[in-house]
Symmetry: C2
Subunit: 200 residues, 2 copies
Amino acid sequence: MNFPSKLIEDAVTEISRLPGIGKKTAVRLALHLLKQNEVVTEALALAITRMREEIKYCQTCHNISDDLTCSICKSHRRDRSIICVVEDIRDVLAIENTNQYQGLYHVLGGVISPIQGIGPEELKIESLITRVNKGEVSEIILALSATMEGDTTSFYLSRRLKDSGIKVSSIARGIPVGGELEFTDEVTLGRSILTRINYG
Amino acid sequence: MNFPSKLIEDAVTEISRLPGIGKKTAVRLALHLLKQNEVVTEALALAITRMREEIKYCQTCHNISDDLTCSICKSHRRDRSIICVVEDIRDVLAIENTNQYQGLYHVLGGVISPIQGIGPEELKIESLITRVNKGEVSEIILALSATMEGDTTSFYLSRRLKDSGIKVSSIARGIPVGGELEFTDEVTLGRSILTRINYG
C-alpha cells in the first residue's frame, strides 16, 4: 500500500503487528484515531505503555498485579485452603467471571510441551510445591486445557503432589452446557460417561 | 469483568474504545502486549501519538500529509489536469492501490447529508472551485459512494462546476467484476443498462 504520509504508514505498521489485525483493519483503526481528539490517542498510548512498564506479577500466585501481592492473594474473603492451578492469566479472568470460585490461584505460565521445548522447570511448579508445603492448603484444583499438553501437565502435577497427601482434583470434562449429545465428539462423550456424576 | 490490576483494566478500556474491538478482543490484545518486549509497546504508543499530533493535511487537496503539500500534489509524475473528488482519505488509499489513476485528488471530508446536518459549507467544496478556477484543470472525476448522500453530493458538485465549462465525470456504476448477473440487485442492473458502454 502506498501511503501519502510516513506517519500514518508507521502507525499502520505498528497496529498491524497486533494479533488478528490485518493491514486493512490497521488502516481503519489508524484513520479512526486520526479523527479523534488528541486526548483519546494519548490516553491509549499512555495506558498501553504504563501497563507494559509498570505491571507486576504476584510473588505468590504469579498472577498480574499492581503490587508484589495481587488483590486475590491479599483478599480476606478468599478461601486460602484451595488453590486453582491455571496455565495463563487469561484463565484467571475467565474463572473469576464465573463467580463460582472463591479460592486462590496459581498461574503456571504455560503447560508442559516437549514439542515447544517447555519442560516442568520452565513453569512455576516449584513455587506451587513450596506453597503446598506451607500446610495451609487442603485442595488443589487443576484447571488446565483438555489438550494433550494440558493433560500431560495435570498428570505430572498430580504425581508431584501425591506425596503431600492433599486432595488433587481436576475441572470436569464433559458435554458443555447447552450442547447436544448427537453433535458431541466421541472422545468427549466417552469421557463424560467414564467420569459420570453420581446423583445419590 | 474483574481485573486483578488497574493498569490492565485501563489498557483494556482504552483499547476497547477502538471501532470493532470488543472487550474480549481488547483483553486478548492487552495480554499479547504484556508478553512482548517493552520496545514493541513503546513503538506502538509512539507511532499513534506522533501520527495524531504531527500529521498535517495538504493545503491543496486536504489529503493527509507529512508536509503542507502532500506527496501526490508535489509529484511531477502526476497529471495535473485531472482531479478526482473523493469523500475520505481512505478513498484516496483505495484508488491509489488500483494503480489506474495518475491525476490529483480532492478530499471533501464527507458527503452532503441533511439528516446528519452536513451541508455543502461543511465540506471542502469552495477550495475545489478555487482550484478549478485557476485554469489548470480540464476534468473532474467524481468518485463518491453510490449512496443517496454520495449521489446528492455528485449532483450538487456537477451543478456548481457547470459554469466552469470543464468536463465533469463520475466513476462507473454497474455490476462488479466477477459479479454474476442473476445475483445483482435490480437497481444496479437497471443502472448498468442505462449507462452501458458503447463498443464502437
